[in-house]
């Protein structure tokens, strides 16, 4: 990985961290409602994989922990934040919320709040790609706990028998809501579970964006070349609770300390400093610029945007003026 790409990923991971931590503040201030699931600690996963893909060309779908994937696909952080603020300028006009970020123009196909729900949707997007004859792939990010849903097994099976261009990325953060993986899951190494479907899989360190990027390149090459689905397991850790309503009482402090030493941003920063590719001061300047951008542009846009019109309440339940529904066609 060249120096420019490393610096770009460093900046993007830092932006993601600052964005999420600012969401935390806004939630505490009650500017953001509902459930809020933050990605802090897991940045290398989305950044490394989507960097290796063709953002805006390949399709990405994920769960409710979705802000960072959306932004990395090319969505404007302002419209993501405005959605969290439930404003009309939000990507879903305030109808979706944190768990339902959508950016179809950027081929970010959404955040979904049923654990495991996107597995078959991703296979279906891949089916659509195949029917239309494109060279895109679909990348589905989900957590380890989603693999205990039936949709995991049903989708892997279908993706394999129909040879669909889908990459399943398992962000294994070791906890399903508040239950540690070894207490809920018979086989802790998720990549092993995939062998039952004869799908190639790999487990790598999800805290090192260079490792993630390299593994993702290999996985994406496999899928794009028509060889069918691939499963990539990234070992990672979330710093915050499952959601903001989580007491985070189920984890040992020692475990949290250990993972904080493997922070994906610090890991890359230290490497860049050691190689003489960035100085501490340069990094601080980047950080200051990010903080200013988030405050002066992103938050300001969300704050100053209007509330959704009440007309939106009944819009989009069904599509409008469909002639096949009302009988205007024959």
């Amino acid at each position: 990985m060249d120096s420019d790409l490393k610096k770009k990923l460093l900046r993007e991971m830092l932006f993601a961290r600052r964005f999420e931590e600012r969401c935390y503040e806004a939630y505490v201030e009650r500017k953001i409602g509902g459930f809020l699931h933050l990605y802090s600690g897991e940045e290398a996963c989305a950044m490394g994989v989507i960097e290796a893909a063709q953002a805006g060309h390949d399709y990405v779908i994920t769960s409710y922990r979705d802000h960072v994937h959306a932004i990395k696909c090319g969505m404007d952080p302002k419209v993501v934040m405005a959605e969290l603020y439930a404003k009309e300028t939000g990507c879903c006009k305030g109808l979706g919320g944190s768990m339902h970020i959508f950016g179809v123009e950027n081929r970010f196909m959404g955040g979904y709040a049923l654990v495991g729900g996107p597995f078959p949707l991703a296979a279906g997007i891949a089916k659509g790609i195949k029917m239309k004859g494109g060279d895109e792939i679909c990348i589905c990010f989900l957590g380890d706990a989603a693999n205990n849903q039936g949709t995991f097994h049903e989708s892997l099976n279908m993706a394999k028998i129909w040879n669909l261009p889908v990459l399943y990325v398992c962000e294994n953060n070791l906890y399903g809501i508040g239950t540690r993986i070894d207490r809920s899951t018979a086989v802790v190494d998720q990549y092993k579970r995939v062998s039952g479907y004869n799908i190639p899989s790999e487990q790598v360190d999800g805290q090192d964006v260079e490792i993630v990027y390299d593994a993702a390149q290999k996985a994406i090459e496999h899928v794009r070349s028509g060889k069918g689905p691939y499963f990539l397991e990234l070992m990672t850790y979330r710093y915050r609770g499952h959601s903001m309503s989580d007491s985070n009482a189920y984890r040992e402090k020692e475990e949290e300390r250990m993972w904080s030493k493997r922070d994906p941003i610090i890991t890359l920063l230290d490497r860049l400093i050691e190689a003489g590719e960035i100085t501490k001061d340069e990094y601080k300047a980047v950080d200051a610029k990010i903080l200013a951008e988030i405050e002066n542009e992103v938050i300001r846009f969300a704050e100053e945007s209007p509330e959704p019109s009440m007309d939106l309440l009944n819009k989009y339940v069904l599509t409008e003026n469909d002639s096949y529904a009302s009988g205007g066609s024959s």
Binding site: V104, L121, M131, M158
Partner: protein, 327 residues
């Protein structure tokens, strides 16, 4: 206008829509090589191949979700779920994704999927193959529910459902696939919304849908012949949205209403239509509306008990006579 069987009408709609648009495809259990449990996709596997006529694993939630995902890219899957009893397993993807994705994406995504599934009580299939589920589907915002009562509707509704941009659930009936009826020779798209006057009348309205339209029609004949009661039969082929205007128009004419449903009464089609009558035309009524429903039981295996669990023509006649104070 040719007279064809119900399954042939469904098959013809598949064939025409698949010929019209290469992104239309169908999938379900045994629909390809085996030709479909009810023959609804007979011959299509040979004509369109395995990429467009897909035999699925027995994974209802999985393949329904897969169909929905493909519809995000403009594909138009026609998904057959072999029995509505199995459709329970796909409720997650149908309700949580298909019905909500257009709304929660702020209009960015559409899910133009068609899910067809036969339900109803057939011939001693037992409790887990005899469910009537339409009342569940029609209660979900964002999902269209239609239920054809004859081959013409089966053909015209499926044609429209494929082209409509909303998710559509088509509730068919296990006992109706060999029923014959006239279907226009020319291509025909039936509106997904509305109702049809199956028989005009002035004394009482019998509301039916799917198989209960037949019970209503035959009860109306008996009432006319033996009791001098002129019943109107309204075919509510669209269960969501329901045709409020059509319901109001008929009740305002006859001033009496009996709703006939094959399902258990609680939270059902009859309950919903009664509520609409209350809201739209209560003061037009000459008598309290009645419903003729199934017993509130799982469907038993024994033939006599099974028949006793669901309504029949005589139950409809009896309800009307009771309403007129003649029993």
């Amino acid at each position: 206008m040719a007279e064809i069987m119900f399954w042939e009408a469904v098959q013809r709609a598949h064939d025409e829509e698949m010929a019209n648009d290469p992104l239309v495809y169908c999938m379900g259990e045994d629909i390809g090589v085996a030709g479909g449990t009810y023959k609804a996709t007979k011959g299509l596997y040979d004509k369109y191949g395995p990429e467009r006529v897909i035999d699925t694993p027995i994974s209802e939630n999985g393949f329904t979700g897969l169909g929905i995902g493909s519809s995000f890219l403009g594909c138009r899957p026609i998904i057959e779920i072999m029995s509505v009893n199995f459709a329970w397993l796909a409720m997650d993807q149908l309700f949580n994704t298909a019905a909500k994705v257009h709304y929660m994406s702020g209009g960015q995504l559409m899910a133009p999927v068609v899910v067809r599934s036969p339900g109803g009580t057939a011939h001693q299939l037992g409790a887990q193959h005899s469910a009537r589920m339409e009342k569940v589907f029609m209660g979900i915002a964002g999902l269209r529910v239609v239920t054809p009562s004859n081959p013409r509707q089966a053909y015209g509704l499926l044609k429209s459902a494929v082209r409509c941009n909303d998710p559509v659930f088509i509730n068919e009936h296990e006992m109706m696939y060999n029923m014959k009826g006239e279907v226009p020779d020319a291509e025909y798209f039936m509106p997904l919304e509305g109702s049809e006057i199956s028989r005009g009348g002035k004394d009482v309205t019998l509301f039916g849908y799917n198989i209960s339209v037949y019970w209503c029609q035959q009860a109306a004949e008996i009432l006319s012949r033996n009791h001098n009661i002129d019943a109107e039969v309204i075919d509510l082929y669209s269960l969501s949205p329901l045709d409020r205007e059509g319901i109001k128009r008929s009740v305002s004419k006859t001033h009496r209403a009996v709703i006939v449903e094959e399902a258990e009464p609680a939270v059902g089609v009859g309950a919903e239509i009664m509520a609409i009558i209350n809201e739209e035309c209560f003061y037009e009524l000459d008598a309290p509306p009645m419903r003729v429903s199934a017993e509130n039981v799982p469907i038993p295996y024994n033939h006599n008990l099974e028949r006793a669990a669901i309504p029949d023509i005589q139950n409809v006649v009896d309800a009307v006579l009771k309403m007129f104070g003649r029993s």
